[in-house]
């Protein structure tokens, strides 16, 4: 061959340099890499894009934050959970808690120029009730909305709903322009009265949503940036890389990725939103007779060394607990926190008394990402003579499977909401996570008291909490820390019961 070593080497060098230069573009990429580094711009890494900008399709937690940029809600929920005026200036229940009279602001317009008034508020609430959005249940107790005068509405209820004011600070309270409600346009471009307006030309579905500050917004205190970008980063590794390289200012991470963020001097805000543990669903023993015995359920609770599991598996990110109700809910009590301390001897004793000694087998589906945790639970239950059998991983038919009584027990992470929200999620007979519709007259009475309790709903829900803990309806392990990281250019205040703060909780660091 006539190709000498030089030519061969040149071929390799040429191909390598082609690979690097042809696609390398040029130098100076860093100048374009940053997004939200200016003081007047905020760039947040979010977990997924929203499905529709129709306010009736809004969800909770991190799926509520984008809507808050474009829409005001009737009531503002402060970081500590306190409810304050927003589009509603004042609100008051009648004596039976079945009619909420709401006074409205008169100086607010929507981004399409339409005026916000009582008719607009009624149109939104009516739309929310029939739009079949994921949070439609928030207004299920509302029978009708009446316009009293230009700036007052009456929300009439078929039954008292202590969480209604809270709901009006959430999805149900978001107000869109009445002219846009129900149109196709509002699905892709929000039309609200909020602090920011969407820059449609700069936004790309599932990639980023860009907002600019709305001119003449009525509440400058809630509008702290000129530009807001929500960068959709599904993968936690991508979120971590974007944060530590300065592309985004703040995002939600997990304990593993959090280590990398901490190494890059990012600041951490922790907040407890979910509880993690077993849901012993078949409490009447329809499919698993052992679970009908309260002593068996209590034995399961005594079998877990929650503190050690938390330290070893969750890197200490959480707080051990025996109660399913959250600390901010009002239903939480100190005495229930460590109701079931680690006591394998007592667990064995209870199993013996129950007559199910050596005969308890619990099947649970595998929750992706929780395999290690489930295998630790399996080991600790085996130590007291209970068999835990993890089955196939849950799939996208999970909620339908739960409703269809496919599982008699579950390991899961669940949101800790307001008392009636939590009750209708895990306790009442209409709760998805009570698929076997377990109840007793005693429990029904306690739930009814909460519903009619008005301002005392939280305290009354302590009784429901106590009942389900004593009856061991669940085997809670711990409240999990949500780990929200941000750089030093932004101050972030965590929001009670939300993994991701409300949009108002960010401000430029001085």
């Amino acid at each position: 061959m006539k190709l000498g070593p030089k030519a061969a080497a040149a071929a390799i060098v040429l191909s390598a340099s082609l690979a690097l230069t042809a696609c390398g573009g040029g130098a100076g990429a860093g100048s374009n890499a940053g997004g939200g580094t200016a003081v007047t711009a905020l760039t947040l890494g979010t977990l997924r894009d929203i499905t529709s900008w129709d306010p009736a399709q809004a969800h909770v937690g991190h799926a509520l934050q984008p809507y808050q940029a474009a829409y005001d809600s009737l009531i503002l929920r402060e970081p500590d959970g306190k409810l304050s005026p927003m589009l509603a200036t004042a609100w008051k229940y009648n004596e039976t808690n079945t009619k909420l009279t709401v006074d409205l602001r008169t100086d607010v317009t929507f981004s399409d120029g339409a005026k916000f008034d009582a008719t607009a508020a009624k149109a939104n609430l009516d739309h929310f009730k029939k739009a079949n959005g994921p949070q439609m249940a928030q207004l299920s107790s509302v029978s009708d909305i009446a316009v009293v005068d230009e700036d007052t509405i009456d929300i009439n209820l078929s039954a008292a709903e202590p969480a209604l004011e809270y709901f009006l600070s959430q999805a149900a309270g978001l107000m869109g322009s009445p002219a846009a409600l129900g149109t196709d346009g509002i699905k892709t471009v929000p039309v609200g009265s909020g602090p920011y307006v969407m820059d449609k030309a700069a936004s790309v579905k599932d990639s980023q949503t860009v907002f600019t500050a709305r001119e003449g917004y009525w509440n400058k205190d809630l509008q702290k940036y000129k530009k807001l970008t929500l960068k959709i980063l599904i993968d936690p590794t991508a979120r971590t890389n974007a944060l530590v390289s300065g592309q985004i200012d703040a995002t939600l991470l997990d304990p593993k990725n959090g280590k990398q963020a901490e190494g890059a001097k990012m600041k951490l805000e922790t907040n407890q939103v979910d509880w993690s543990g077993l849901l012993l669903l078949d409490r009447d023993g329809a499919k698993n007779p052992a679970l009908a015995n309260v002593k068996v359920r209590q034995a399961i609770n005594y079998a877990f060394d929650r503190k050690t599991i938390l330290e070893q598996v969750m890197l200490g990110q959480g707080t051990p607990t025996s109660q399913p109700f959250g600390k901010d809910s009002g239903a939480w009590t100190e005495e229930l926190e460590n109701y079931y301390s680690y006591d394998p001897t007592k667990a064995k004793q209870l199993l013996k008394e129950s007559g199910f000694e050596g005969k308890v087998t619990i099947d649970v589906p595998t929750l992706p990402g929780a395999e290690t945790l489930i295998s630790v639970l399996q080991q600790q239950l085996a130590d007291v003579g209970i068999t835990l059998k993890p089955g196939a991983a849950i799939t996208n038919t999970f909620t339908a499977d739960v409703a269809a009584q496919k599982y008699h027990a579950l390991f899961f992470n669940l949101f800790q909401g307001e008392p009636t929200v939590a009750i209708d999620q895990i306790v009442s007979t209409k709760a998805l996570y009570n698929p076997f519709k377990n109840t007793t007259p005693e429990l029904e009475a306690k739930i009814a008291a909460v519903r009619a309790g008005g301002q005392d709903a939280g305290t009354l829900a302590q009784e429901v909490n106590k009942y389900v803990v004593e009856q061991a309806w669940f085997a809670p392990l711990f409240r999990v820390n949500q780990m929200y990281y941000h750089n030093d250019k932004v101050n972030v205040t965590p929001q009670a019961q939300q993994a991701v703060p409300s949009i108002y909780n960010y401000s430029p660091a001085k």
Binding site: M1, L20, N132, D235, T237, T399
Partner: protein, 313 residues
Amino acid sequence: MIKFIAKRLGSGLVVLFVVSALTFTLLYTSSGSIARNILGDQATPEQVALKEQELGLDQPLVTRYFAWLGDAVSGNLGASWFTSEPVANSLATRIPVTMTMVFTAMILIAICAALIGVAAAVKRGWVDRVVQIGAIVGDSIPGYVIGVFLVTILAIQLGLFPATSTISPEVGPEAWVYSMTLPVIALLINGVTGGAQQIRSAVIKQLERDYVRTLRSRGIGEREILFKHVLRSAAPAGLTVLSLQLIGMLGGVVIIEQIFALPGMGPLAVTATGQSDLPVVMGVVMYTVVVVIVVNLLVDILNGWLNPKVRVS
């Protein structure tokens, strides 16, 4: 040649139809209550029933398939059940991102792999050994590991490239170049090492054939033998390897796009599959099948052009 292409296109359409019918049936029969997934865990049974009716899930499977097929033929792939965005729109914004990345990587792989493979085959000795070792090392490191490594060094520590995509309508083409560089490198390293190895074998095989000896004995120069005869005969093997790599890359690119947060087909496929957003999943599957059919067709045409023997057979 036209008959050959027409025949290939015809069989491609049959494949498309069969795959669409099979995918549709599998997806629709195995995905349970989609309506409840869309509405979330607070939904009441009445809400779920209403949603099922909205989505037409109360219709028989065959009716739904032919309704979908009829729309699909006219270019309407339906709309996402979760976002109401037309599937054709979703694909139109994402295919350019994925295809730019895949084809840039492929062109570079073709050039680099051919140069390295031919050099190894012709030169043998130390060059060949380096290529062989490189192939083993390159094949044993998955693209996503290379991706994470590149991000850590070049984006986070040195700040030369963005860690995640900056592609958006408000930035110019240079953002595309910056955002694509690391993902393309992550994609092409496996391809170059694997491709070079295959091309090397194909060229060596040709160099050992009798006709090369005959050409040499007639005094024809090595350069002419290599470029006029050997490479032409070795090309089909190389092209087949490259086409297989391209098809394989459609899978690999899903993970790479996730790591670099590129708004391509990968995140769309992952999200839609996880949610059982069936119209979108069907759109993604159709896109994949069409790419595979087109790539195979192009390879066949190129092979026929390079080597008339293939055309005849």
